[in-house]
């Protein structure tokens, strides 16, 4: 070991580099960080060590925030583990790289595990070289060893350990191979806290770095990272330089540093950043020459290339992508349908059973809460679980195979025309699942304007929470053959609008240069069944949890708002007291007849036609008002009373008050209250429609909500409603995350107001034009 490698790591040394990271936080126990290039398998290793289920995917930029976890070493010592976003080097360009850089520079970690993709060591080990300059206690984890081995590559690990001065292990993250060896290596690193060997970048660079290091005041940053700081100053890194200039007593040093840089640049004829980067690569090259006993075969990527010849084909690529997206919606709809039917029946039975615990005709509030509020509300949302699982399974396949990066490549030019970015595409695909992680995923974008534009339009990409809305409304208004195309259409409208709004933003408030687009395309990988299943199960569980918490709570609130206050006195009772109305018991429903009676029980005027003989309920009531004597069925009277209760309730009052605003869009007050609830979480729309119609109905074994909607509203109202729900007010969680990620209320509220205004205009135009055209 050479002497310089003895830079021991002391316990927490104050602040890392001035201004960066919140070091100094008290900590007991050990702390370890995972660092590495994007997509090298850090999160896979993190999950394998801690048993967590953090998201992995086969494209760069999956992890965008730090994640904390814990695991135990062989001897039972607990360790806090930090998973970091991937980064190619310790120069941060985008917010997520910043997170990684701050953590690595903080000096808070007892060991830094550098995860490297064994199939691309030339580039992956450059980061290792940079971290070596920070005097950290390192472990090198050569992941993807399976792929490297299959390609014929052989490494001499013992030699590698000797040259690097740190433990080196091979792992196959997704199969959990080598994890014990990794723990043992961490143990070894902890036992002898030698820093890895000092990095040698060649005489010329080493001299220059040495000269600059001597110029740095002792109180500028931790002493361990002095080499790294000196290198950055040599490169003229803007951030380090400006921080250095702000430091007292640095003025004279700054000009000497510039002189060192000028000298090396004139001697070589190359600029310093290039020289340093070449130095890193040359170091790795030299290392690999000594440890790589066998190189990988040239055809290692043959299979991926064959697949890309089709999937990334210049002409076929986009049509295949469109077909794949269509297939996803088709699968979600068609395959999910029977399962959905079962759950629906299950809840119907449950509602009947719970309702049956009370005597016939009881108006117990608890019964109403359980049957109408909980089963009608939450049940209406849970029904769509199978479809949601299918959607996430499809997204998991896209994410885990590596197709996502190809799709981003194919659509970049299109996105570019609208002022977006190929990298905007990945947040958008993530947004199909949920807008919140979609907005988080914009962190991989280097350009702030691109990032803001993408964030702003992301709620237009229909998320998983809106899926139940489409699954409720589309079958209610459209015949079977139209359903999958309609669903595809909803998503397509959202995306087209997102592009148009982005274009508008980039032409107005976010005007500016195009951002660069440089993205790595990983090889195709076969998703493991376990990985895909955990991912889907995780999402399914989240969906159920949301249904059982937020949606349950909001449903109960909405139920109460829809139940209280009661009307108190009812028209039918008054008319009956006046002797104008006679209420008779319902006839025993026989086969087929039951359906008709229910339609008739509906208080909507225009649907009286469903009952072939005699005037409708409304007509009869009107006759009664004029003093004629009419007969009502008991069920008709009950339905009428329930309707009056709804109107009198708080939700009814709010809905009625706002109805005039939404009337031109074709919505009635029931939809309005459901839309207000949807701001809490989009699924609540479905829950509230369930509650309203459940309360408004007397019969437990009532027909499905869809059939009720079909009989109450025209398809044009359905379309207008879907457009409004697609475009309008993103949910609260989205607003909050936009605020956090854009760091401005202006953007978050602009998003809320702007999108809601757009929704209003689009629905208004569609409904009014549709009506003129006679739909």
């Amino acid at each position: 070991m050479n002497a310089e490698a003895e830079v021991k790591k002391e316990a927490p040394v104050e602040v890392a580099v001035e201004g960066s990271a919140q070091a100094g936080a008290s900590r007991d126990g050990l702390r370890i960080a995972l660092a590495g290039n994007p997509n090298c398998g850090k999160t896979t290793i993190f999950n394998a060590l801690t048993g967590a289920h953090q998201k992995v995917g086969n494209y760069p930029g999956v992890t965008v925030e730090r994640r904390d976890g814990r695991f135990e070493l062989g001897d039972g010592r607990g360790v806090a583990l930090v998973d970091l976003p991937g980064t190619y080097s310790l120069t941060s360009l985008s917010p997520e790289e910043r997170v990684a850089q701050d953590e690595l520079l903080s000096g808070e970690n007892d060991v830094i595990v550098v995860v490297a993709d064994s199939t691309n060591l030339n580039r992956n080990l450059v980061l290792l070289a940079q971290i070596m300059q920070m005097g950290a206690n390192l472990v090198l984890c050569l992941n993807m060893a399976d792929e490297a081995r299959a390609s014929g590559q052989v490494l001499d690990l013992a030699q590698m350990e000797k040259l690097l001065g740190c433990p080196v292990v091979e792992t196959v993250g997704h199969k959990r191979q080598g994890i014990d060896a990794l723990k043992a290596a961490i143990d070894r690193a902890l036992a002898s806290p030698r820093a890895s060997r000092r990095l040698v970048l060649g005489e010329r660079l080493d001299n220059a770095i040495g000269q600059i290091r001597a110029l740095i005041p002792a109180d500028f940053g931790r002493p361990e990272i002095a080499d790294w700081v000196a290198t950055k100053l040599l490169m003229g890194d803007a951030e380090t330089t400006s921080r250095f200039l702000a430091h007292k007593g640095s003025a004279s040093a700054a000009s000497e540093i510039a002189a060192v840089r000028a000298r090396i640049e004139s001697e070589t004829g190359h600029d310093a950043p290039l020289l340093v980067t070449e130095g890193y690569f040359a170091f790795v090259d030299g290392l690999l020459r000594e440890v790589m006993t066998q190189r990988s075969r040239a055809d290692a990527r043959a299979l991926t290339e064959k697949i890309d010849a089709v999937l990334a084909h210049r002409v076929l690529g986009l049509p295949i992508f469109a077909a794949a997206m269509y297939a996803i919606f088709w699968i979600t709809f068609t395959i999910g349908d029977p399962f959905m039917g079962w759950i629906e029946e299950g809840f119907g039975w449950l509602g009947g059973w719970v309702g049956g615990l009370w005597p016939e005709g009881s108006d117990s509030l608890l019964r109403s809460l359980l049957v109408d509020g909980v089963i009608g509300g939450v049940g209406g949302v849970v029904v769509f679980l199978p479809n949601i699982l299918l959607l996430f399974a499809c997204l998991a396949v896209l994410e885990d195979t590596g197709y996502m990066a190809r799709a981003a490549f194919l659509v970049d030019q299109l996105m570019h025309r609208f002022g977006l970015h190929g990298k905007s595409f990945i947040p958008m695909m993530t947004g199909f699942g949920c807008t919140v992680p979609g907005i988080m995923a914009t962190r991989t974008m280097e350009n702030e304007r691109d990032r803001l534009a993408t964030m702003f339009v992301l709620p237009l990409v229909s998320c998983g929470a809106r899926m139940p809305i489409w699954l409720l409304l589309i079958p209610a208004f459209f015949p079977q053959t139209w359903r999958a195309p309609m669903l595809f259409g909803v998503y397509a409208v959202g995306i087209v609008l997102a592009l148009l709004v982005a274009l508008l933003l980039r032409k107005t408030v976010l005007r500016g240069d195009d951002a660069p687009f440089v993205m790595e395309l990983p090889p195709y990988r076969l998703p493991t069944l376990r990985g895909a299943l955990t991912k889907v199960a995780e999402r399914g569980w989240l969906y159920l949890k949301k249904a059982g918490t937020i949606i349950l709570a909001v449903s109960i609130v909405l139920w109460a708002m829809t139940t209280f206050p009661k009307a108190g006195s009812y028209e039918v009772d008054k008319l009956a007291a006046a002797g104008h109305v006679e209420i008779v018991a319902d006839p025993e429903p026989s086969e087929g007849e039951g359906e008709e009676a229910k339609e008739g029980g509906d208080a909507k005027e225009d649907k009286g036609a469903a009952e072939p003989a005699g005037p409708s309920l409304a007509e009869r009531l009107a006759m009664a008002q004029k003093g004629e004597k009419v007969t009502l069925l008991q069920s008709e009277a009950d339905a009428r009373n329930a309707e009056e209760d709804l109107n009198a309730s708080l939700a009814g009052k709010i809905g009625h008050a706002l109805e005039p605003v939404f009337k031109p869009l074709g919505f009635d007050w029931k939809m309005v209250t459901a839309m207000l609830g949807a701001f809490a979480a989009k699924e609540v729309f479905v829950a509230q429609m369930g509650i309203i119609y459940s309360l408004g109905e007397v019969d437990e074994s009532s027909e499905s909500l869809q059939a009720t909607l079909r009989s109450d509203y025209s398809p044009l109202v359905g379309v207008s409603l879907m457009l409004f729900l697609l475009i309008s007010a993103p949910c609260m969680a989205t607003i909050a995350v936009t605020k956090r990620e854009s760091n401005s209320w202006k953007w978050a509220l602009g998003q809320l107001g702007g999108l809601t205004a757009l929704a209003y205009i689009v629905s208004l135009v569609v409904f009014q034009v549709g009506r003129l055209l006679g739909f």
Binding site: N120, R123, F281, S296, D412, H416, E446, F517, L521, P522
Partner: protein
Amino acid sequence: MTTLANLSVGQSARITGIQAAPGIRQRILDMGLIPDIRVTLERVGPTGRPIWIACHGSQIALRLDEATGILVDDVKVAGDNS
């Protein structure tokens, strides 16, 4: 001067220099696109852009704007590495 943007699919060339704004230039360098490295133009996007190159065993997509800043010489038909 020849740049990466001038290559046609299937051609390879040797990088001689990178011209770009400092931030993105460093990113390009960090990804391994440094002088003396050979790159191959593997395929192009639907409208001829972006471009898709192979270098060091990794595959990288780039916009034409960035590609025009990557200077190359010694253009060959790929597969004929010497």
